[in-house]
Symmetry: C2
Subunit: 243 residues, 2 copies
Amino acid sequence: MNPTIQTLLSHRSVRRYTDDPVPEEHIRSAVEAGQMASTSAAVQAYCLIRVRDPEHRRRLVELTGGQEKVARAGAFFVVCGDVRRHRVIAQRAGKPYRARLEAFLVAAIDAALFAQNMCVALESMGLGICYIGGLRNRLRDVDELLRLPGGVYPLFGLCVGVPDERPAPRPRLPVDAVLFEGGYPPDEVWLDALSSYDEEYEAYLRARGAAPKPWTRGIAESFTEPARGDLAAYYESKGADLT
Amino acid sequence: MNPTIQTLLSHRSVRRYTDDPVPEEHIRSAVEAGQMASTSAAVQAYCLIRVRDPEHRRRLVELTGGQEKVARAGAFFVVCGDVRRHRVIAQRAGKPYRARLEAFLVAAIDAALFAQNMCVALESMGLGICYIGGLRNRLRDVDELLRLPGGVYPLFGLCVGVPDERPAPRPRLPVDAVLFEGGYPPDEVWLDALSSYDEEYEAYLRARGAAPKPWTRGIAESFTEPARGDLAAYYESKGADLT
């Protein structure tokens, strides 16, 4: 196994960090490595906002549902879809800017590819990372805090720091429930692959000191109420067309 | 520079492949490495469909706008958002499944993080990759070809193969046009950073034998017509709620 694959397989989200700062040169190389990820027709529809201000970090703890790590991590970033650059450039060139759901999807995918490369680079340098999806809990407040202009909208947050824990890896679905040949199989095929996964997942939660629950039970309970129902209205208010 | 960062910085999309097959064990380890990417609350809202059937591959060349590499690459995959698993599991447990734009966004981001890890793993083993956004040109036809059930929808394609070219890297935006401190800067800041990038980008296109054009001119011309206007209707037909 080569060192890159070893890095990828060693990933665990790290939620406790030491007080050590993240070296600036590590951040810069990680951003450069992030940028080398593929991007749809080179549009590079993302940007990265680093938040250092301690009061802003405290406020972001609140806005992400009380996640203390958002204040404590050595560095915190907001990963944004950025179609502002395209809009401003088109406007200055006197060209119309017209975009539908495709542009929003490209921004989300471009930003995720960028962020993942960046995370892999950071982890290869011994740092720990944690994606903060909870940033989408109160996007309008995040937007106001950072005073984001039109065309720039947060997708997720990212904590980075020197790890102060070494958690066990969270087990993933069996490959046979994810990689399919030629088409999507009958549901029984992937359902069959899940019974041992449920046990494995439950054991992982127990070892972590969390309430044990089979993965499928957690999933069944996750979608009883629609999460983050104001996302579409927020993104549209920033100029995204979701049609 | 460590070998992982070297792998990340060496990325170029590869569009010409030799006839050599992609070793099965490389694919499997890349999928496993892909799965270790972060996933929102472990929902793992993606799946990967490998297409081997030569007739299907020919048809996919057509459906992606004549991209011959889709037939010629050693392996071709369709990366899908997959909320079917969640829906079926909820239904079997007698729980309601309710999801809004958040679920679609999670699927797109989860799938992209997975795919990017997978690509990094493949590249670390000497293989070449190319994302195929053109798969979104005619999604209904792709869907019909692969007979995808509800809750499973293609996001992009992925060519993988033994490289038969060593293209120059496509230059990326300067870091100062991507990484910002505390908020989004006035447009002049990132516009200033673009003038040398335009020249660099034009030189890259010229060296590649393509029509030279500054990056900003390409961007200004890219959005004059809205691309892929039927995406939202297609995704909604698969059960995605984009509101």
